[in-house]
């Protein structure tokens, strides 16, 4: 991720010199063992039960006491099935999916984040899948966690991620004929200036604000 400038507005004749500032923001890198807590146990169990572990899992990140497994899109279904069915893992609930759009990460602009919950072991982990914007396809996990049906429709609606194998991937929150996917970063927030006591207040996305 990168951030440009100090302020929210662009092209406003900002003479502070901070307008051209470019900062890159480091996200948490790959963690190494021992992971701590129950995370080693989860990783070991998955590795034992899944021969293609090293190919499927791009990296494991432990950040803020949460385990995130970055999974290759083409391996997602295999990993999900083992996570659900393996007795030592038993993540029988998937609490939906949410998207995130990182336009600066070329080739992996769209991320899908799946929080998983194991009722049996009282554990939580998270799966993250990154796919390119040019080919926004990834497998649907509805065949494994049926409750992800609406969540995937929402993520498709908001980010344009196409979940292959979904039983009916249609828009869910926006009208059926809506153009664009509103929560992508290249989709403007919109809004109109509001006049109040003679002054005009610009819409939130065009106001000067600190980054």
């Amino acid at each position: 991720m990168t951030q440009q400038g100090m302020f929210g507005a662009t092209g406003s004749g900002d003479t502070s010199g901070y307008g051209g500032l470019v900062r890159s923001v480091a996200s948490a890198g790959s963690s190494s063992r021992p992971f701590g807590s129950y995370f080693d146990d989860v990783a070991d169990s998955l590795e034992r039960a899944y021969p293609a572990f090293s190919d499927a899992i791009e990296k494991i990140v432990i950040d803020r006491d949460e385990l995130t497994m970055h999974v290759r899109a083409n391996r997602l279904l295999e990993v999900a099935k083992i996570l659900r069915d393996e007795p030592s893992l038993r993540f029988e609930m998937c609490l939906g999916v949410s998207g995130a759009h990182y336009p600066a990460e070329i080739g992996r602009e769209l991320h899908a984040i799946f929080p998983l919950l194991s009722l049996t072991h009282n554990r939580r982990i998270r799966l993250e899948v990154s796919i390119p914007d040019a080919n926004p396809h990834m497998p649907s996990v509805v065949s494994i966690w049926a409750g992800n049906n609406w969540h995937e429709r929402e993520t498709f609606d908001m980010f344009g991620i196409i979940f292959d194998g979904h039983p009916g991937l249609t828009r869910i929150l926006m009208p059926d004929d809506w153009a664009g996917h509103p929560q992508r970063k290249d989709y403007a927030l919109g809004g109109i200036p509001v006049e109040y006591k003679g002054a005009t207040v610009p819409p939130p996305s065009e106001r000067r604000a600190y980054r």
């Binding site: 991720m1 951030q3 923001v25 480091a26 996200s27 948490a28 950040d63 803020r64 006491d65 949460e66 995130t68 029988e92 609930m93 998937c94 609490l95 939906g96 949410s98 998207g99 995130a100 984040i113 929080p115 919950l117 009722l119 009282n122 939580r124 998270r126 966690w145 049926a146 409750g147 992800n148 049906n149 609406w150 969540h151 929402e154 908001m158 828009r171 869910i172 929150l173 926006m174 009208p175 509103p182 929560q183 927030l189 939130p204 996305s205 604000a209 600190y210 980054r211």
Partner: protein, 445 residues
Amino acid sequence: MTFDPYASSRETTEGTIYSVTGGDWDDIVTEIGSTKEEHVVVNMGPQHPSTHGVLRLILELEGETVNEARCGIGYLHTGIEKNAEYRSWTQGVTFVTRMDYLTPFFNETAYCLAVEKLLGITDQVPARASVIRVMMMELNRISSHLVALATGGMELGALSAMIFGFRERELVLDVFELVTGLRMNSAYVRPGGVAQDIPVGATDKIRETVSQLRTNLKDTEKLLVGNSIWLARTDGVGYLDLAGCTALGITGPILRSTGLPWDLRKTQPYCGYETYDFDVVTAESCDAYGRFLIRIYEMGQSLRIVEQCVERLDSPDYQGPVMVEDKKIGWPAQLSLGADGLGNSLDHIREIMGTSMESLIHHFKLVTEGFRVPAGQAYVAVESPRGELGAQLISDGGTKPYRVHFRDPSFNNLQATAAMCEGSQIADVIAAVASIDPVMGGVDR
């Protein structure tokens, strides 16, 4: 048929479409009865008194039997998640409180716990702030369950339940107003603590409310528990067992109605819930009646927790600040309730305008710019009255969220409509949806 402005019909390739918005029901029944079609697709809602909000139910009927049931949602989509990306982390509270409008304190707390996790200040939140959060959440659970019973009762024709429910809810809303200044959408829980301490004398008022509620809730209980008409409408209706719940990701009273005591307050405690004495209510019947019983008895458990909170708030061990000590995060101004409403405390204004330039700069920076949150993501779940409410936040290290996503339990649980309703009578659809208790503000966000 003569033209009727309330019930017109037109021909399409799919068949005849009747729009029914009122008028003489007999005319419509006669006309539909004269067609050869056995199957009728009924759009119930989005503007319908028994669909629990702007929910559109698409029912394929064969006589009175529901063959297929589908939900149409999105009528209350307000783009809160997108909007929050354009405001500071503190301002985000004002947005998320409006999602599920019956559980504002749960939305706020889930959001704030996630922000605090991202900031790494979870342990620094003052104990008093956590007690106040728990107290407000439990009062909120009561008011939310009361609306569930009230609207659910109304939809099934039990109007007394509706009157009782809303009457009791007023008592709770009075406490909200006393503590936060607002009856709903209060933006009271803030990253790092709460907006202000409870006012002087509030604990006495809350004690009074709790004892009043204990008496009044008995009325609803006596009215409906074991009532044969209520049982006839809810017993065995909207059946969903444990396997169905886990497959569909269902949590909350629906999951507990299968006998599984899964309550995040016990299994994955937050805000110090492990230090309170309360029981998880379950039922074994997997049906609408079981969920109703759970809601009734959970309110009693919530009252127990509120009593313990009030005791703590009065004890000397829990006196002190309600916002983190860190001056780079904690909101600088304390609010005070004046004759003209809620505003910055006059002492604070006197300090920043009259005596301390540094305080003024500090206030200005924190209020206009906000604090920066280290890059990363966090998922925090709380047990809302409807189930697991998850806040998934992503920060890019800036003063605004990079992404805010709420895993709303209503959104997820509404998926169970088809599993609960298909094959049942059309009247049972109403009871089943009422037992899911979806709030469309949370479903559509």
